[in-house]
């Protein structure tokens, strides 16, 4: 699974550039976390990194590109969280349920990343938000569900059926998470997470009964 990365022989300058680029990303995320995406302005980011405004544009083509990078970063972090959950789970069923729990926790704990991943809270995404990282997340979910189906002796008709099943679970999680973040779930995040687990258990049971996804 781990890929070999090219040995990075970088000059001090190149290292500094990478660090500054990362500082911009961190500052942006920090402002969004503390004050919301509405408050993220290029000038505030520049002020936070203690550089002048145009410096930002040496590192990112524009504000949208900056948000797009954080969008991808969110997918990377969520992927890591889900992989970890699956790795630690004792059974394939628990892998699915713990993954769902981890998904909710991620949305609560990294609200600003979750928002930029889904264009919430005033974030505007460019139309092309179907990137490699999103695909990797789908793959992870498909693997977890395929493992579950296999362990339960449930045959997966074809790739499309597996994909459909994953999208149902994902929609449930995203629906509950985004409604909870918008304060539209009575009882808040705690109830939303509990509902997610209940509904997913019900869906798994339905697939068991049908012996098919």
């Amino acid at each position: 699974m781990l890929e070999i990365v090219e040995t990075p022989i970088l000059t001090r300058r190149e290292r500094e550039k990478i660090q500054l680029r990362q500082a911009i990303l961190d500052a942006t995320q920090a402002i969004a976390a503390k004050e919301g995406w509405q408050a993220v302005t290029t000038r505030k980011v520049a002020e936070k990194i203690e550089y002048s405004l145009p410096t930002l544009y040496e590192y990112f083509e524009n504000k949208a590109a900056l948000l797009a990078e954080l969008n991808r970063e969110g997918y990377r972090q969520l992927l890591a969280v889900l992989q970890q959950a699956r790795k630690n789970a004792p059974t394939p069923t628990r892998a699915v349920l713990d993954g769902a729990q981890a998904y909710c926790n991620f949305a609560w704990q990294h609200r600003e990343l979750y928002e930029v991943m889904h264009g919430l809270s005033g974030v505007v995404l460019e139309t092309n938000s179907y990137h490699t990282e999103a695909q990797a997340l789908t793959n992870e979910a498909q693997t977890a569900l395929e493992d579950w189906a296999c362990a339960e002796g449930i045959q997966v008709q074809n790739a499309s059926a597996l994909n459909d099943a994953v999208q149902i679970l994902r929609a449930l999680l995203h629906g509950l998470a985004s409604l909870a973040l918008a304060k539209q779930i009575i009882g808040g995040k705690k109830v939303a997470a509990a509902l997610a687990l209940r509904a997913i258990e019900d869906q798994l049971e339905a697939w068991r009964t049908k012996k098919s996804l």
Copy 2:
């Protein structure tokens, strides 16, 4: 169900004011429908109604208030659509499923309203988005599900259980609808609607099996 509205004896001027206010709302929605919410600017709205910019502010305190009104309008229209679906359904089960179908159709056909209702596509909602109209929608859904439970001989433990069940179904629909609108569902709207119906049928079956919500 129909409420008596106070007999409106209005002067010509008052009627014109109401019409202009509605024209502003219509113009805003039209721009959002054609070019997206990102393109909705106060000047464009003013130009469309052929009035100068400050006139808008005689009718709405600010842009946010204008969007808030369309937010509520979206909830009103969705409520009407769901009431109609339930009224026309031959059975309580079909009432639930047809309601789900109607929900999806509303999201596809009035994308801009669905977006402003949920703060998608760059729309920023004020924190207080839990208005009367949202409550009325929840009530409608609860009634439909309560009817279904009653017809199926399923006991509803308490109001909280009914509420939870409704929120699960709503989250499923909203998750699929918003992911589909964000072009994150392979197969698009058609597949998303089909998945919604399948998943809801599975959830209803789970409740039947448990004989409890």
